[in-house]
């Protein structure tokens, strides 16, 4: 069963139609990138999925259920804006969410706080944007949800905070759960996504697995640029790729140990992110060995 099923969804604000008869199905258990430029309808779609917008036409199902009390029980939402009152401390926020959601793990939340170097008595009003984002991530990821919906989780935060957020998302996702992450900063999360749903001016322009995109020889970012008619920056980056290849070849000859270490790291990355390509590589390697 699809974790998200959308049929003929349209949403307008006055005369402006932000979602135009959109239909798609997304399978559970994967990390889905909801990609598109600002104002393309990403946030409206997420608000509909999480029950913040009710005024739309079309059918939207979460795990087979229409949007309502039951669907909200299995959805954890990280919005773009902080919903925690400014007078609250981190502890107040954890206790509030803990009292409102049965699947919230308080102990895990306090662990997250210390990992993020936040103290429970720290007030929201004294937190930086990055700290607030980490607190919101804590409140979202410490729920045992079936679907995590995140709207620009890395928006407006520094690179170090982005790295922490990314690691937290990857390492704490419950087994079998799905994630729908909206972003227009593809570069930061490209290696995380299993699936990409691209929206442009209210229309779905791509609903593809990232493995299939990569099979076509393109990175997700390149594919996004092609789909959105953006000049492909990756071509100008080719000299860098050539330089990297030259570097690796030199390394293979001069420092085989370091070369192997790098190669293994890349293979491991491939194994985690692109199982199919990895499997093909292993088969090809074995066949090469036999010959």
């Amino acid at each position: 069963m699809s974790i998200i099923s959308v049929q003929g969804l349209s949403k307008s604000y006055g005369q402006k139609e932000v979602l135009k008869d959109v239909s798609f199905d997304l399978e559970g258990g994967q990390i889905i990138g909801l990609l598109g430029p600002n104002g393309c309808g990403k946030t409206s779609l997420l608000k509909i999925l999480t029950g913040l917008i009710h005024d739309y036409t079309g059918e939207v199902l979460i795990d087979g259920m229409p949007i309502g009390v039951e669907s909200k029980k299995i959805v954890a939402f990280l919005p773009e804006r902080s919903y925690v009152a400014r007078w609250m401390s981190a502890k107040d926020a954890i206790e509030t969410i803990g009292s409102l959601f049965d699947d919230f793990d308080r102990d895990k939340a306090y662990d997250f706080l210390s990992r993020f170097k936040l103290t429970p008595d720290m007030k929201v009003k004294s937190m930086s944007k990055g700290m607030q984002e980490k607190l919101l991530l804590t409140l979202t990821m410490c729920r045992d949800a079936k679907l995590y919906v995140m709207d620009e989780p890395m928006g407006g935060v520094d690179p170090a905070a982005r790295r922490d957020i990314k690691e937290t998302i990857l390492s704490n996702r419950p087994k079998g759960s799905a994630m729908l992450i909206s972003t227009h900063q593809i570069h930061d999360l490209e290696d995380v996504f299993d699936h990409a749903l691209m929206i442009r001016e209210g229309d779905v322009i791509a609903n593809e697995s990232v493995a299939d995109i990569r099979k076509s020889g393109q990175s997700l970012e390149e594919y996004y640029c092609v789909k959105h008619g953006i000049p492909n920056k990756s071509k100008s980056a080719k000299p860098e790729v050539n330089q990297t290849a030259q570097f690796l070849e030199t390394l293979r000859l001069t420092d085989p140990e370091e070369y192997l270490r790098l190669l293994n790291a890349q293979l491991e990355k491939l194994r985690l992110n692109d199982t199919e390509s990895y499997a093909q590589l292993i088969i090809a390697q074995k066949e090469g060995g036999k010959q």
């Binding site: 913040l52 009390v69 804006r81 509030t96 409102l100 959601f101």
Partner: protein, 283 residues
């Protein structure tokens, strides 16, 4: 619901505690000034207490409305609407907690007025008397009411009516704010919610006044007991003896207006809950 109520109380208490604390401090200053026989400070703190007493009432209304708007349609709405509860439950929790604060503030407001005036009387009388004695002296002076029981009943009835009006006012504003979050009012929702509140409340109030005065259903408190009379409030005073022979003193009040306001509030509540489930947008 229980958990929602707890959280609602916690989040609104922040705003309410400040004004309650101001009341308590002003009251303490007035009592201390009296003990220390500083007459000018007693007078100033008495006036301050009357002002704070009014502010309690005013701040409560503002807080209740502001909290409703921000917690549902401000940033906190991202949490409120993502909770696994129906719109009616969310609205119910907010209404109950709002009513609770309004009741506390209302009682405090009346308490401050009665208490401080009695206190002042106790100071002005030639013979020293306690505040309780002063209240006993004060009340019969306000109205010529036969007996404490009738007096308490009449005051309770008037207080209930004022409280009901406050609740209706809040129900109208909650409804207007909710309507302003639907498709056609979304741009300029704050202005729309103010306009809609007046558009609904003013005609409703006129209907209420008309029904109170003219509908043939009057509740009457008399020296000989209480009862309902099937006459308009204007006629009830003359016809009351037909129903209660010992009604030497009577206080009639048309209740059709109250019933209308209660039904209207219930209707607005149901309509708001439906809109919250089907038509609203969190910006």
């Amino acid at each position: 619901m229980k958990r929602l109520l707890k959280n609602e109380i916690k989040s609104t208490a922040q705003s309410m505690m400040g004004i309650y604390l101001a009341t308590v401090i002003t009251l303490a200053v007035m009592l201390l000034a009296q003990l220390a026989n500083i007459n000018w400070l007693t007078g100033v703190s008495y006036i301050a207490l009357l002002i704070v007493g009014f502010l309690v009432f005013f701040v409560t209304m503002i807080t209740v409305i502001r909290n409703f708007k921000l917690s549902l349609y401000g940033n906190e709405g991202y949490l409120s609407y993502a909770l696994p509860v129906k719109g009616g439950t969310l609205l119910g929790a907010k209404t109950i907690v709002s009513a609770m604060w309004m009741l506390i503030s209302f009682v405090l407001w009346i308490g401050v007025w009665v208490g401080s005036t009695a206190f002042l009387m106790s100071r002005l009388e030639e013979e020293e008397m306690t505040i309780l004695e002063a209240i006993k002296e004060l009340l019969p002076m306000l109205v010529d009411i036969p007996g404490t029981g009738v007096l308490v009943l009449s005051v309770s009835f008037i207080a209930s009516y004022i409280f009901l009006l406050m609740l209706v006012f809040v129900a109208v504003i909650f409804f207007a704010i909710t309507v302003a979050q639907t498709r056609y009012f979304l741009s300029g929702s704050t202005i729309w919610s103010i306009l809609l509140s007046f558009i609904i409340f003013l005609p409703a109030f006129v209907v209420n006044v008309y029904l109170t005065n003219n509908a043939p259903l009057t509740f009457v408190i008399t020296a000989g007991g209480v009862g309902f009379i099937p006459h308009s409030m204007q006629d009830a005073r003359e016809r009351v003896f037909d129903y209660i022979e010992t009604a030497t003193w009577n206080f009639p009040f048309g209740v059709a207006g109250m019933i209308f306001m209660l039904l209207m509030s219930a209707g607005l509540f149901i309509a708001s809950a439906w809109l919250m489930n089907n038509r609203t947008n969190v910006k």
